[in-house]
Amino acid sequence: MLEIKNLSARIGDKEILRGVNLSVPDGEIHAIMGPNGAGKSTLSYVLSGREGYEVTGGEAIYNGQDILALTPEARAAAGIFLAFQYPVELPGVGNANFLRTALNAVRRARGEAELDAVAFLKLARTALKNLSMQDDMLKRNVNVGFSGGEKKRNEVLQMALLRPGLAILDETDSGLDIDALKIVAEGVNALRSPVFSALVITHYQRLLDYIVPDRVHVLAAGKIVRSGGPELALELEARGYAGLEAA
């Protein structure tokens, strides 16, 4: 269960989040929509602990723990995963090595046994197959020379392996064609369980045809201004975000 209470944050002198209130119960997927500059990406970075974002008020509690006090790696160990809008390239770092290092770091933190290379490869190959990805994805350097779609699929692959309790998807649909979009959506849907929840940040209703959210929230000018069921996304698609700030 993620509970965000009156969360405010800024970058430098610029106030971005101005009192966000949001609850995401376990087992649910919530969509966050909103116009450009509303603070959607900031919310995802604040929740995952990126430097440069100063929390000025409020709290974010995940499974009873105040996550805002934790390092990014401790949040990962607690089960939080951020799928990046712009996945980062790591030249010279093999994807398999990266994935296994990350998986073992998280497993270690959770008190689980680390996986050796053989066990890891078996697990990774299964995950790749489920995502219709080629095995050579493991041999390539992390995100280096990947197409936009490959980068996003690589994010979903990491998510599938790390098995987070809470996934935050930051505009994972941007730049994806319809086939890639379906694969990404299937990756998220495959994780659905009573102990998994997700915050799906998106600009467009399109992704929500494939990942059907339990709740939809509209973030505008740093606040949640409306919440509703999946039908709210359709309404926004039809009418746009104009006038929502005043609501």
Partner: protein, 483 residues
């Protein structure tokens, strides 16, 4: 963020302990009086039972050294070295051992701590090891196996006695005694080192390895390594270096000479982890080394791979003289500096023969308050038609107090030569660190991963078992560098 500061402080508190090779071994030592004069040179030569020609050579080197000036063109700074306060010979006070059973158990115990497979039964890795402790070579493993294929691998002091014609022919033929200040010093006082001879057509059946260890206080280490590969021969050789933690600086001035005849191949790898000094720059080894290989035969190849993480100051330029037509020189280097370390390192590729090629891949990583300089020379002589060189120098900066410098010299006297130089300087990006950490990696592990990725082109040139060691070393050497 406060968490970062906390991580850094914790790691800095730990970093005093991080040089795990910093122990000393209590053992009775035989030392000559400190200071350097002709008498000491004669004593060293007599101790080794050397022939007259070698003593004469040492004395010429010593006479020249007294006239030479310490070089100061490198981008390093240090207080004057008190050459008269150093001991030039220190050895465990016992007769030279004939087999491993006769080696002092305290020494064997020390090499075990260092993880060196000195005991043959432990040497499953198939690595033959020569171990040099302060000034003398302590034991050489696998000698019988090697002897069957005609390979000679022994302390150079022994080679002087057993194979004088080979030593006489090649010693100083690549690095003359008057080559430079430190080479002259080494020629006068070198006390041991390794000797390798691979006869015609023989592929050395195993990796050869030497571990150098400075133990005694105030002792300089001046080892001399000579490797000869006859026509069609090949060998892969690795050296590793460690020293105890001491507050004063210690001098290490080695000379390495390689000779490759027609179609011969020599691969020389170094993992240098001398004590780098403490976080404030106190103590550490001055590593002033001359390494040079001569590709004398056609289509011969000499490849240098070095991972330099230790030493307070590193001053070394493993070089290739590409004399034989079609010969190949390679230099793959990772030089990492942290805290107050200084490195001025690179290579010289001298193209003399036709269609000679050289490749230089240099990766410099600077952290803390350190300074890291790549200095290289590519020289194409008039007859070297069709010569080619490719140079790539990449620098990675961690933090904003360190420096990276690239000083490439290119001299081409042949119009048909192709010389390429590429250089980049970058910082570890905040988004790369955050990406890794958001996947559960600690900040230190993230830096280690990114740095190892940066060095991959060089690390893949190392023999497999040492590549793993080098990766760990890079990560350990960077502890406390972020934040």
């Amino acid at each position: 963020m406060s968490t970062t500061v906390e991580t850094r402080d914790t790691v800095e508190a730990l970093s005093v302990e991080k040089y795990k090779y910093g122990f000393t071994t209590e053992i009775a030592m035989e030392e000559f009086p400190k200071g350097l004069n002709e008498e000491i040179v004669r004593l060293i030569s007599a101790k080794k039972g050397e022939p007259d020609w070698l003593l004469a050579w040492r004395l010429k080197a010593f006479a020249l050294w007294q006239k030479l000036e310490e070089p100061h063109w490198a981008r390093v700074e240090h207080p004057p070295i008190a050459y008269d306060e150093l001991y030039y010979y220190a050895a465990p006070a016992a007769p030279t051992p004939k087999s491993l059973d006769e080696v002092n158990p305290a020494l064997l115990n020390m090499y075990e701590k260092l993880g060196i497979p000195l005991n043959e039964r432990a040497a499953l890795a198939g690595v033959a090891v020569d171990a040099v402790f302060d000034s003398v070579s302590v034991a050489t493993t696998f000698r019988e196996t090697l002897a069957k294929s005609g390979v000679i691998f022994c302390p150079i002091s022994e080679a002087v006695r057993e194979h004088p014609e080979l030593v006489h022919k090649y010693l100083g033929s690549v690095v003359p005694y008057g080559d430079n200040y430190f080479a002259a010093l080494n020629s006068a006082v070198f006390s041991d080192g390794s000797f390798v001879y691979i006869p015609k057509g023989v592929r050395c059946p195993m990796e050869l390895s030497t571990y150098f260890r400075i133990n005694a206080r105030n002792t300089g280490q001046f080892e001399r390594t000579l490797i000869i590969a006859e026509e069609g021969a090949s060998v892969s050789y690795l050296e590793g270096c460690t020293a105890p933690m001491r507050d004063e600086n210690q001098l290490h001035a080695a000379v390495v000479e390689l000779v490759a005849m027609d179609e011969a191949k020599i691969k020389y790898s170094t993992v240098q982890n001398w004590y780098p000094g403490d976080a404030d720059g106190k103590g550490g080894i001055y590593n002033f080394v001359t390494k040079r290989g001569a590709c004398r035969g056609r289509n011969s190849k000499i490849s240098w791979t070095q991972v330099e993480t230790g030493s307070a100051i590193t001053w070394k330029y493993p070089s290739c003289i590409l004399q034989g037509d079609g010969s190949v020189g390679e230099f793959y280097s990772v030089a990492m500096t942290h805290n107050h370390q200084q490195a001025d390192t690179g290579t010289k590729m001298i193209h003399i023969g036709k269609n000679t090629t050289s490749t230089i891949i240099s990766k410099g990583i600077s952290a803390g308050h350190s300074n890291n300089t790549y200095r290289g020379l590519v020289k194409i002589m008039p007859n070297a038609s069709g010569a080619r060189n490719y140079t790539q120098c990449d620098s990675l900066l961690i933090g904003d107090q360190c420096g990276a410098h690239t000083v490439p010299y290119i001299e081409s006297r042949n119009a048909s030569a192709k010389v390429e130089h590429e250089a980049t300087t970058s910082k570890i990006a905040e988004d790369q660190l955050f990406y890794c950490r958001s996947r559960g990696l600690s900040e230190e592990d993230a830096v280690g991963l990114i740095v190892n990725g940066f060095c991959k082109d060089v690390l893949k040139e190392l023999p497999m078992e040492f590549a793993v060691e080098a990766q760990k070393l890079l990560a350990v050497s960077l502890e406390g560098s972020v934040g």
